[in-house]
Symmetry: C2
Subunit: 337 residues, 2 copies
């Protein structure tokens, strides 16, 4: 039982492959195929359960109707919610989505991008990681539609959409200050990407504009690749040595580790120490006390990203020429501050 091909259909109907192709692609009227023939073709195709061979279509047309979504890790909240929305948005335009995760390995990332390229995906949605700059630049040079999310490379002109990291942190720190906290710690990681830099800048400048001198001992930079154990340990000593009244964690996984640390230290939130986290997590809502956090407007990000991509794919007209957009975060006031 082999799959029926377009040619098979043609033979059965007694028409030529091209005619069948036109009919099946809805170009029957355009090409002025007689209704009779068109109907017959449609009927036979249906009866035989004809499925076009997309590989052949792709080879011929150079289009695949697939967009590739490349992320560092598919675990993780942010990605999980992102993926669902992106998928359904893409569907509106007739595109399918395939996911690839790089596991934060530059080598693997390169391979994956290569694979997507070789399979001729029509567009790329990428959460960029350190070291991937050249490859991404390359896609762009080859005129591949692409949109970056969550971060971007400064100095390039690639389209991106991300949350306003500076604003989010600034809001949180201001909130802490208003609540009377002065000794505010900040725990971030050493990723050199723009989003983390912006968060750090948010911390520093907001302190400054509130006339609170920056104490560098209150800034903890953890290694991104360090094992969980080590990071929790670092946070432990950080808290013990510097006794911050409040801590802001610059990423949700850091907040989770922070929770672990605070728990192991037997400190109470917000009594002994207040906390707020950038990027929400299910745990923060459930925890007792619930944890105040800065939520990324995932839905908006996803929709905008697809929009920018579809513009490049010529699927929607370009309303405005802005292709680099930042969206406002959502401040979720809970009980940890």
């Amino acid at each position: 039982m082999k799959k029926v091909s377009l040619k098979d259909i043609a033979r059965m109907v007694g028409a030529s492959p091209s005619t069948v192709s036109f009919v099946l692609n809805g170009k029957a009227t355009e090409m002025r195929i007689s209704d009779k023939l068109a109907d017959k073709i449609l009927k036979v195709a249906k009866r035989e359960n004809y499925q076009p061979n997309n590989v052949a279509v792709s080879l011929r047309t150079g289009k695949s109707k697939i967009i590739g979504l490349v992320v560092d890790t598919i675990s993780g909240n942010f990605f999980a919610s992102l993926a669902r929305i992106i998928e359904s948005e893409a569907e509106h335009f007739g595109y399918k989505v395939i996911y690839c995760s790089t596991g934060n390995e530059i080598k693997k990332a390169r391979e994956l991008l290569g694979m997507l390229y070789q399979y001729h995906v029509d567009g790329y949605l990428i959460i960029p990681t350190e070291g991937l700059e050249k490859e991404i630049e390359n896609l762009s040079v080859n005129r591949k539609p692409l949109v970056l999310m969550d971060s971007y490379f400064s100095g390039t002109n690639l389209p991106y959409v991300l949350v306003n990291n500076y604003q989010g942190v600034s809001q949180a720190i201001t909130h802490l200050i208003e609540k009377g906290y002065r000794k505010i710690g900040f725990v971030c990681n050493d990723i050199p990407m723009i989003q983390m830099q912006e968060r750090k800048r948010g911390y520093l400048e907001t302190l400054q504009s509130n006339n609170i001198p920056f104490n560098k001992r209150l800034l903890l930079e953890t290694g991104y690749k360090d094992p969980e154990q080590d990071i929790v340990q670092n946070i432990n000593t950080f808290i013990l040595k510097n006794k911050p009244e409040a801590i802001m964690f610059a990423a949700n996984y850091l907040g989770v580790y922070g929770l672990e640390s605070i728990k192991s230290l037997n400190l109470s939130i917000p009594g002994d120490i207040a906390m707020v986290c950038f990027d929400d997590h299910e745990i923060f809502r459930l925890f007792s006390p619930s944890i105040t956090s800065i939520q990324q407007p995932v839905e908006a990000i996803a929709k905008l990203a697809i929009q920018l991509l579809m513009q490049q794919l010529g699927k929607i007209e370009i309303k405005d020429t802005v292709s680099q957009v930042e969206v406002s975060p959502v401040f979720l006031l809970r009980n940890s501050t």
Copy 2:
């Protein structure tokens, strides 16, 4: 700047496409191509950064070196950890993985499977959902290598690998009984798939074999598609009305909802109510008190699934003919019981 094709290379070197193809596919010696020519071809290909067009290769050979992983929802712990391992295992065999999520919509699931089929993925890893039986059966009939995970359809002979659900629940319930609890509630959902049925059976039979009469008011079956709010509300009234001394949740998302409910009821764990959950979740480890749970051996599941798939793909020899395997769960004793 167009991509260089194999033909381009041939022209540059002054050889025929077939010769180039042989060399590039490592069949140079087999075909007795002279070393000189082979070297030259390799060098030029490298210089020109030749990348084969996989679409063309796939069309020609009917193989894609891709396996499709179809899950219900891409969020979720279980899947997230599964994916990572599957990916790296597949890599050993030279396969790439693409993910698709069905969002638990049968229509979308069908489309996705169709897409994978049309793109000629070489193998399928599927977490089956209700209603997908015929499509999956169909793949099998068409001799597509495939392995089910997490669940399966009784009455079919498809290969699968999943945790021993019965054993996991039985172990947990036994534990509760040993701890002295008698009024043990069980919260599951209404998915008619085998894994949930097995968990329910584990509950029922373990009570029975311990001479605890089954009280059907202690069994709560929640709608899988119900919104979170409703389910939490259901759990609330379930607890209030029936006052179980302990509850087992049959899935990790249910456990999380349970936590919410218990929190909103202001009950203490395990003082007022003990709890244990099937399928671990990061929250359970972090929560105060930490929540006892039954962990799925994700790594073992992933590795076995790939193994079964590679057997079908002829990539490894078949050691034993067992293609339906259950693995033992891991009991994680924590502080909620």
